[in-house]
Amino acid sequence: MIDRLPPQPEEWILRDQPIRFRFEGRDYSGFAGDSISTALWANGVRVLGRSFKYHRPRGILSLADLDCNAVAEDGHSTNIRMDQTPIAEGKQLRAVNTWGGCERDVGQFMDWLSPFFPVGFYYKAFHTPRTLFPFYEKKMRQMAGLGRINPARPLTHSPKRYDFCDVLVVGSGPAGLSAAIAAAEQGLRVLLVEEQAQPGGTLCFQLSGEPEARALRRRLLERARSLVTLEIRTSTIVAGYYADHWVALIDAVRLTKLRTRAVVVATGCHEQPAVFRNNDLPGVMLASAAQRLVHQFAVRPCRAAVVLAANSEGYRAALDLVEAGTKVTLIADLRSEGERTPLGQKAEQAGLPIRSGYGVYEAVPGRGGRNVQAAILCPLAGDGAPRIRDSSQVACDAIVMSVGWAPADAILRQGGVRMAHDGTLEQLVPTEAPDGLFAAGRVNGIYALEDQLADGRRAGMEAAAFLGAHAPDTASRPQRRGPSPNHPFPIFSHPRGKNFVDFDEDLQLKDFKHAVQEGFDSIELLKRYSTFGMGPSQGKHSNLNAVRILARLRGENLNSTGVTTARPFTSPVSLGHLAGRIFSPHRQTPMHSEHQRLGARFMHVGNWLRPEYYARRDFSREEAIRTEVKAVRERAGLIDVGTLGKIEINGPDAAEFIERMYTARFAKLKVGATRYVLMCDESGVIIDDGVAARLAPNRFYVTTTTSGSDSVTREMKRWAIVWGLQVVLVNMTGAYAAMNLAGPVSRQVLEKQTDIDLSAGQFPYLGVREGMVAGIPARLLRVGFVGELGYEIHVRADSGLWVWNQIMEAGRSYGIQPFGVEAQRILRLEKSHVIIGQDSDGLTHPLEVGMEWALKMDKSFFVGQRSLEILGKKPLERQLVGFTLPADFGGPFPKECHLVIDGGEIAGRVTSVVFSPTLERTIGLAYVKPRQRQVGNRFWIRVDGGALVEATVVKTPFYDPDSLRQTQSSVLQEVS
């Protein structure tokens, strides 16, 4: 570690914890607390990455998340921000976006070709012919871009979490710490968030000339940590601010959704680069980066530096460098008057050469263009333009820039704060802020240390007063004072360019000029056309200079030019963080484990897991399903129908309520009887169906479709309120297990387990009875969805498995078999029973599916009645019909949603189609034009591949048209 300095006071690295890692195939070492960039810099590595477009070598610029010069991948993760990411033992890293490695990137030929890639080149060159765009796009994606995604990366979870506080303070510099302490002292729950690894903000690195800075940081932190209601969270970014003080926090592990009641933004400022030729060379860095290297990481930034200054901080940085053993060759001060503070005197006393009214016109690259060899300085004319004839060259290996700051105002602007340019300060400062949002410190334009502390305290107290924890404070905001730390235009044109404004996107000064010449002369248009501020840094180092350039080109001030819109996220957030831990709730019936034991293959129906069919050894899926169908038709089958919605409707108005909700008539429905129910919405569209059972005069039990239970319950509750009826609704879907025992011997099977009289006379078709089954209180509905004698058995969920097993045991001697959803679909289709949601869609009304019989239009009212009266007077546009294919059909099999074609036009679609093992032919339901609905009519179905299959309209039901099987009793012998 040739550039590691002796121990610095309060350095962040832990020298007793060495860490080894690899970068670009070479071994390096650092210390715990180092970031990847600082560890490499300490090892003398200067080229940390390659630029996005021109593959130019890049080093440390900001060391503070303001640029993406140094980005790496480690085989698992990509786009690792090296400035921010701590080194880890054994990590193997390589820079992203290089061809052949970071040092000798073959892609640097792009830099030589850069004159051929003016701004907007892509839009112009690849616009036509359009057919070639996919090719261009592919090539561009290959050439540009950041890291590669490793699809084989092991799945890791980034669990999201929710968090809460009274006051969120963003930024832990002097203003932030002061604000947090003030609010916490009022008893409020305060969360102080710092993006760096340690709190303190500028107190951690802007030290020279402020001997008290370290002591002040210690005092503030000590006080903060003594307050039990104040939590400090480091290495955490406030990535987004949303309505009602909802804030997205990002740390290394997770996204935290924070709900706070007030926010104090003390985010400080982002130091801004000067724009001159080759200002992106490794070795050209912001003064704050150099200071961070020295004080936080004990790394020597360079050997000999030219400091380009336009404020006191430049002098402070120069003195810091001298303290760190670096030679400061020259301070070039952009201001003609130079530095007139004690810092200026101190620099003079230290013997530092100072040239006031000078700027850096160009950085001279060393061999291979991978470092700085010298700086070309020019005196500045009165208008700030460099006098090139008087230029001189000064040898150095670094140019340290301190020319001004831009407020870190993204959170403020996302919160609705309007920023206005203060001409005296040469900075955007907040104006009006929404309730509960406060700014403090440098982002507020307050630079003097004591003023930052006072401003932080004021903001903290204002937040407390806003929350009612403190009487409104009369303390006023400290005045902005002292010379402006910001140069109004630290930007120097150069005929050979390479004076970069946006380092992320390799945008040069000329690109902005050309864009404006082409008419993209509003800030938002300029952003889209040039792409400035659209890289990973989100304009933190480029937005202000872009606005300045545009303002100058348009001859107006910054307030007139405006700024771009601030949107979340303020920094790149990995998709893994956004995805987090995925919750995918699914429901299981009480018999789930038994289905598994029986070999069920499950399918998702709504959010339920249901057995599709039960796999059998040596049977294909189709064979297994046919076996299940056969069992139901010939013996008995048992299906788990616990997923059906189950709603109890109680109360004196229960009958009236159900009369209004459903299309059938219920007023005269006898206790102990059930009825098929159809539910429509106000427009007459079918939304659900099921069975309603009358258990008592004022008590009904209604089933719904599997996916309809919640929505039907909500609709019912809504209408109950609207109508003001006295009903009590209870959704019992999960509380009851349900199974349907169906088949000609189902009565004999059930008789063994129940005390209910199952005889046809006592328990007729469409009856409901309550009694005991297998010793458990049960509710039995005699229904026939599959077209056989059948009993739906409803018992409380915790006893569902018990009853299932008892019935299976009772039916064993009859050859009972469990059957799944697929067999049920075949069985019901043989009976032409429609499935709502499969044979209907979001526009289907009962007249289209032949359900006039379910509509009691002479009732006084039901939901959808008026719409159905209107629809009834109009000609139908489609009709659901049953169809068959020829018995010897052997062509491509139609599928659900295949189109019905009539005269080359779409006439409808297939909604259900299966091969019926009972009828030994293909049957289905399809929407056709009304003129096609006649029995015997033939129509065409277009199947996969475009072939047309001829189908014939037939009368339905396909099976047992008189429904004798489900209504009559049967007596069969037990099988051996």
């Binding site: 299981q588 209870v730 019992m732 010793g775």
Partner: protein
């Protein structure tokens, strides 16, 4: 001793069975007495633990006559919405709606049994509701860390009130509670979501160095009353 297999079954029975617990029977339901030794589970209970209490009997009483009827039955009722009362034997009564009360027995209380017998046949304006919830206790000082990952509510300073919210994407009733000095979050959800919710919560509990515990560490009397833990129906 010949024990008949219990007929009631927890909605998360399989999730429990795969952890090889020692079973007991509570209210005709196979329930976990413990997974580890008692001392270890008591320690977990204080730090972070998840316990299935689906075996408790519970019911709701709804309707305009519910409050009057319950008072007539001698059940003390919470005065305000979402408030709860607990009997000495840990029976629970919660006012979950203006006309709805949720009642839950602990192993030693019999309030629900008593009420069920008095509600048949139903009185006018009084509607008993069978409850078949999956019910869990999330306990310990780190319980809020699990809820912070699964529920969008602030539990740092929970009030003593019933809460309707979503946990891991599932609608739940929650009751912040204390068992002596141990924070307990009682969670109820639809039985059909039970297996899913148990699995998700246990995953996060284990990430936070907690684990599943049995009823034995909350109800020591179960350890002595069941000399021969009954095997599960399987």
């Amino acid at each position: 001793m010949n024990h008949q297999a219990p007929r009631r079954r927890s909605p998360i029975h399989d999730g429990l069975a795969c952890l090889n617990p020692t079973w007991t029977t509570v209210r005709d339901m196979a329930s976990v007495l413990h997974f580890q030794n008692g001392a270890a589970e008591v320690q977990l209970r204080e730090q972070l633990a998840l316990c299935d209490v689906s075996c408790f009997e519970r019911m709701s009483v709804k309707g305009p006559g519910a409050a009057r009827h319950l008072e007539d039955c001698g059940v003390p009722l919470p005065a305000t919405l979402y408030e709860y009362l607990q009997s000495d034997d840990r029976g629970l009564v919660v006012r979950v709606d203006s006309q709805e009360f949720f009642l839950e027995d602990a192993p030693e209380s019999r309030l629900v049994d008593l009420l069920k017998s008095r509600l048949e046949p139903a009185s006018p304006g009084v509607y008993p509701v069978h409850r078949q919830d999956a019910a869990f206790w999330l306990t310990g000082n780190k319980a809020t860390q699990v809820l912070a990952q699964t529920c969008g509510l602030d539990f740092q300073k929970p009030g003593p009130q019933w809460i309707f919210s979503r946990v891991a994407g599932v609608s739940c009733g929650l009751l912040p509670w204390r068992l002596e000095r141990t924070p307990v979050f009682r969670i109820w959800t639809d039985a059909s979501y039970g297996a899913y919710l148990w699995e998700e919560l246990l995953k996060i509990v284990r990430e936070q160095e907690g684990d599943a515990v049995g009823l034995g560490c909350f109800f020591p009397q179960l350890n002595s009353s069941v000399s021969h833990p009954v095997t599960s129906p399987e």
